[in-house]
């Protein structure tokens, strides 16, 4: 622990010395009485001062939490030498708030007794954090000296984004070869009825359509669509974000991405993840609960890093974007580089869907004629970008704060059901 003197030390020394000197010079014994308490406190405190040995541990309720959840933490003081008065500060990131308890706080540690300092925290925003850096400041009885130390007992804490409600998932236009929950175009063993055809040697009796066979006078069998899985790649545009207060387009996009990943993985699809921006982060498509954790962990590392470098799809490893994969892009459409990359994806034949996380509500209202014109031009430009996607046969749904993510997904689904894919 590092020792520091408080301003009181100098002040008391000065008062004691001045009082005694004045008593000597002026021949007033009363001034000795006036100076005596200061001199005594100074002498006692300076002789007694010792650096306290404080044994501190930090305990975290759990290592994983969801946005908005409460988390219990304890600062445990071991049965050490004790301290008359000790200021304790647990360093907290801005996205973790205090719900119950006092931080910082001043406590007394009794020698030989264990002491717990409980705190209840609220995980305000998603992210990967490490908690447990504790600042200690021990004061002696009269507060002339203080001993300071920083104890590092950091433990990782991952706060996952909450999930958006998703009613229906987009069906990929192409499926893969493994069994899953999507009805494939190909005819094979399955449940969904596809067609009937004439019986050929090798057909199973259970597939015979007896009604059709009776009408035609020969054996006809039912054909079915196979149930297959699909490859889904969640493409996150992290070139830029719009942020206002505690809300940002990136937060919304991450929540939606986590929801989509969880839902697609639950129905045995392979899900991959690409965050495309100032930094590139990717995960190869895979299945299972482990992949969900991998994706969410990768999301926690996602952040907006300003970059002027032009990026295109060349930087993304080829295996990250398997052929016939459904690419769900979540973008605020704030950066042309992301729009170009997505159009390039479409041009390469990927089944692309764009969910625009609207930044309009997060932009401060512009007043004044020139600013209003600038705002209108910006909106028109956004419409133009949207138009480019529509012309390329890419459905674009605007997800704003007034509507839910499920509505945007329904909108895209409706477009895909009714619109024909544009020639590429």
């Amino acid at each position: 622990m590092t020792r520091a003197a408080s301003p009181k030390l100098g002040a008391y020394a000065g008062l004691a010395a001045l009082g005694l000197l004045a008593a000597l010079v002026l021949g007033l014994p009363e001034l000795v009485l006036l100076a005596a308490p200061f001199a005594l406190v100074l002498a006692l405190d300076t002789v007694q001062v010792r650096a306290p040995h404080i044994d501190v541990e930090f305990e975290l309720d759990r290592e994983r939490a969801l946005e908005g959840e409460l988390l219990d933490v304890w600062i445990r003081f071991g049965p050490g030498a004790g301290a008359e008065q000790i200021d304790v500060l647990l360093e907290l990131p801005p996205d973790i708030g205090i719900e119950e308890g006092t931080n910082p706080s001043t406590v007394r540690l009794v020698a030989g007794e264990e002491r717990f300092l409980p705190l209840r925290l609220r995980c305000v925003r998603w992210g990967a954090f490490s908690l447990g850096r504790i600042h200690l400041r021990a004061h002696d009885q009269f507060g002339l000296f203080r001993h300071e130390a920083v104890v590092d007992r950091r433990q990782p804490l991952k706060v996952y984004p909450t999930q958006e409600a998703v009613r229906t998932l987009l069906r990929p236009s192409e499926t893969q070869v493994f069994s899953g929950n999507h009805v494939a175009r190909q005819k094979a063993e399955g449940i969904e009825f596809a067609d009937i055809r004439q019986f050929v040697a090798g057909d199973r009796v259970k597939h015979v359509n007896w009604r059709a066979s009776a009408r035609r006078g020969e054996l006809w069998v039912n054909e079915h669509h196979a149930e297959r899985n699909a490859d889904v790649v969640i493409f996150l545009d992290v070139f830029a974000e719009a942020r206002r207060g505690g809300r940002s387009t990136l937060d919304h996009a991450l929540r939606a991405a986590a929801s989509l990943a969880a839902r697609y993985l639950r129905q045995r699809d392979r899900v991959g993840f690409v965050s495309f921006g100032g930094t590139l982060n990717w995960l190869l498509p895979s299945t299972g609960a482990r992949q969900l954790y991998r994706i969410v962990d990768a999301m926690l590392d996602t952040q907006i890093i300003l970059s002027y470098a032009w990026r295109d799809l060349v930087v993304i490893p080829r295996r990250t974007l398997p052929p016939q994969a459904l690419v769900v892009a979540l973008t605020p459409l704030l950066d042309d580089r992301a729009a170009s990359a997505l159009l390039d994806l479409r041009a390469r034949g990927f089944d692309l869907v764009v969910i625009e996380v609207s930044p309009l509500e997060l932009v401060a209202p512009l007043r004044g004629e020139k600013r209003e014109i600038a705002s209108r031009l910006w909106r028109l430009r956004r419409d133009a970008v949207r138009g480019r996607f529509m012309r390329a046969g890419v459905p674009v749904a605007v997800w704003d704060e007034d509507s839910s993510f499920a509505v945007a997904m329904e909108e895209v689904d409706a477009f895909r059901r009714h619109a024909r894919t544009a020639p590429v």
Partner: protein, 148 residues
Amino acid sequence: MVTSIGCIGLLVTAVALLGRWAALLPWGFVGAGAGYAVFLSLRPGAVDERAPLVAAVFFVAAELSFWSIERRSWRSEGQVVVRRLALLFSAGLGSAIVGGLLLLVTSGRGIGIGYEAAGVAAAVLTLAVIAVLVRRSRALVHPPRRGG
């Protein structure tokens, strides 16, 4: 004159408390003490019998003033506050009792050259001890750098 010096001292203390300037605070007490010293020197007769009480009040006021300007925006634990108040009360009471006893002992005896010499020697010794302690505490706070 006494009132004006005392008022200046109180004013400086008030300014230091309002501005939370720890460096200015002792000067306020110096002013108040100077007022008391002027009052004593103008006052004819024997030793002021209220001096132990004044000393206790002076010390408690200094402690409370420094407590109030501590840079702490959070509440301390109840036990800490109670113990600190108890310590303050005890220190004030102790200084009053010890001062009273000292006053009682010295007032009963005639003043001779020997006692005066002993008093001066004790005062000089106390000052020397304070100087040594302050120097030692500074050495503890700012230890000399190794190497170089």
